[in-house]
Amino acid sequence: MADPILEGRGLTKRFGGLIAVDGVDIAIERGEICGLIGPNGAGKSTLFGLISGVMRPTAGTVTFNGRSITGRSAHDICVAGVAVTHQIVRPFRDMSVVDNVMVGAFFGHRPRPRGRGGARAAAMEELEVCGLADRAESPARSLTLGGHKRLEIARALATRPEVLLLDEVLAGLNPTETDRTLDLVRTVRERGTTIVMVEHNLRAVRGVCSRIVVLVEGRKIVEGDPDTVLTDERVVSAYLGTAAHA
């Protein structure tokens, strides 16, 4: 990988005595869909937190487009062009769906749309892409879980990211919703947005990701193309346990 768009080196996060992420090196190629998998507590969401500026790394660096963004604030990193969705959805509950997305359009990566009309038009475009256009004027709190997940994506897309970090957007969705969301992920990639997704649904990961990185207990244990990674002995034992354990 000659020119990664996003690169973490030696990323470490310690919470007191617990090491959630332990010296992870990760490089994301421009235009790929990269899956980040691992058992619960492997440090996937923490790694996203370190990249997106929600948390400060204890050690290590994050480089985006060749520039260090290590330790910068979350809003700064969003403006730079890295957006993140929240595993536990965090809508602005009292706002309408379109107003939620307008916050992303008003702020976020440059160039920003002009004025309220511009922000609204941009927000409506993302709602269209995410299949929420008919719910634009509903209060955000009235959406179903699937709707909330798509709102998270629409809001992040409205910030015009170059890299989009999706944190378990499929969790809790039924099969129909899962397929719709995977189609959406592909559409977003086709627009030229690089995607990194944390996901537990391995079948979905296999279907949509071109590369997979596996974290176990805060460490990267293997990375590569889906078929190789998912049949790797270390990955299988991390998920299912070894014969010795069973």
């Binding site: 979350a74 009292d94 916050v103 309220r116």
Partner: protein, 313 residues
């Protein structure tokens, strides 16, 4: 929106006409003056406490700084054209000094810190006698004509409500609403939340600074316990809550109710007004946290058939 604008224009025109139609109704003019002043102050508080959701119990500090600044400058013969804007900016500057550390705290912790800031400011005013006259305060000799005061307070109210209406529909307003509902989510969407909160506090403090000028020139007396008093900070919290927190006109509605209760009850029996505010506040928090405007909204909904809800697809 156009209807709101037309309604506001009619209301302003009527209020401008009052002193000419009824020039001798001094009591009524005085009550209206107080409503304008309190309305402007409550609207200013609401920019921070309502729009941005950062509930401050120390806003009297900004009123006091404006009042003292104007009183001191007026005693030294400085023109109001200079002293009023300077008072606003001093209050604004003070808001930056306290806002930058205080906004490192969130939610109730921020609110508690503002109580401390408000009280500390009052104690500084009490003890810095060479500047503030200490406990006995400062007295001014002559007030501007009542008519001028009336229009100054009206202009301040119109400016404050106009600013609030503009902010609410603007990019800045979206930032504040996002901060109020989920500060962390706002951050990840590119909103510089601390900057937005600080800007809101600065604007709020500047308006309170001007309100302090108007206050000093009306009462001709400022003392630490009057302008910096905790009861003033509480009044600024109560009014927007009564009317409707985070709305454009709610604080003004709250100011009308607050002023009437205070004028009517405080005159009949000492401290009954405080009891009334306590009961009103509890009733609102328990039954309709959206205040009077929330009640109005409920009535409107009852008269209209319920909207058909489309299930989320």
């Amino acid at each position: 929106m156009a209807r709101n604008g037309a309604f506001a224009a009619i209301a302003i025109a009527a209020l401008v006409a009052v002193p000419f139609v009824a020039p001798h109704a001094e009591y009524a003019l005085d009550v209206l003056f107080l409503i304008f002043l309190y309305g402007a102050m409550a609207t200013a508080w609401n920019l921070v406490g309502g729009f941005a959701g950062q509930v401050s119990f120390g806003h009297a500090a900004f009123l006091g700084i404006g009042a003292y600044a104007t009183a001191i400058m007026t005693q030294n013969g400085i023109s109001l054209w200079i002293s009023v804007p300077v008072s606003a900016l001093l209050a604004g500057a003070y808001s930056l000094v306290i806002g930058i550390p205080a906004f490192r705290l969130r939610g109730p912790y921020f609110s508690i810190a503002t109580i401390g800031i408000g009280e500390a400011t009052r104690l500084i005013a009490r003890n810095w006698s060479s500047l503030t006259g200490g406990v006995s305060g400062l007295t001014l000799s002559s007030a501007p004509p009542l008519l001028l005061q009336y229009f100054a307070a009206l202009a301040l109210l119109v400016a404050a409500v106009g600013l609030a209406a503009w902010i609410r529909a603007s990019r800045f307003g979206y930032a504040l609403a996002a901060v109020r509902q989920d500060t962390d989510a706002a951050e990840t969407l590119g909103v510089a939340t601390t900057v937005a909160k600080t800007q809101a506090l600065f604007l709020s403090a500047c308006i309170l600074g001007v309100a302090g000028s108007v206050y000093a020139l009306h009462y001709l007396f400022v003392s630490p316990d009057s302008v910096f008093g905790f009861s003033t900070s509480i009044a600024l919290v109560i009014m927007p809550i009564i009317g409707g927190l985070g709305t454009v006109t709610g604080p003004l509605i709250g100011a009308v109710i607050y002023t009437f209760i205070r004028e009517q009850l405080a005159a009949t029996l000492a401290n009954v007004d405080l009891l009334a505010f306590g009961v009103l506040l509890i009733a609102i928090v328990v039954f309709e946290p959206r205040g009077i405007l929330g009640i109005a909204d409920r009535i409107r909904r009852m008269r209209k058939p319920p909207a058909v809800t489309v299930p989320d697809g």
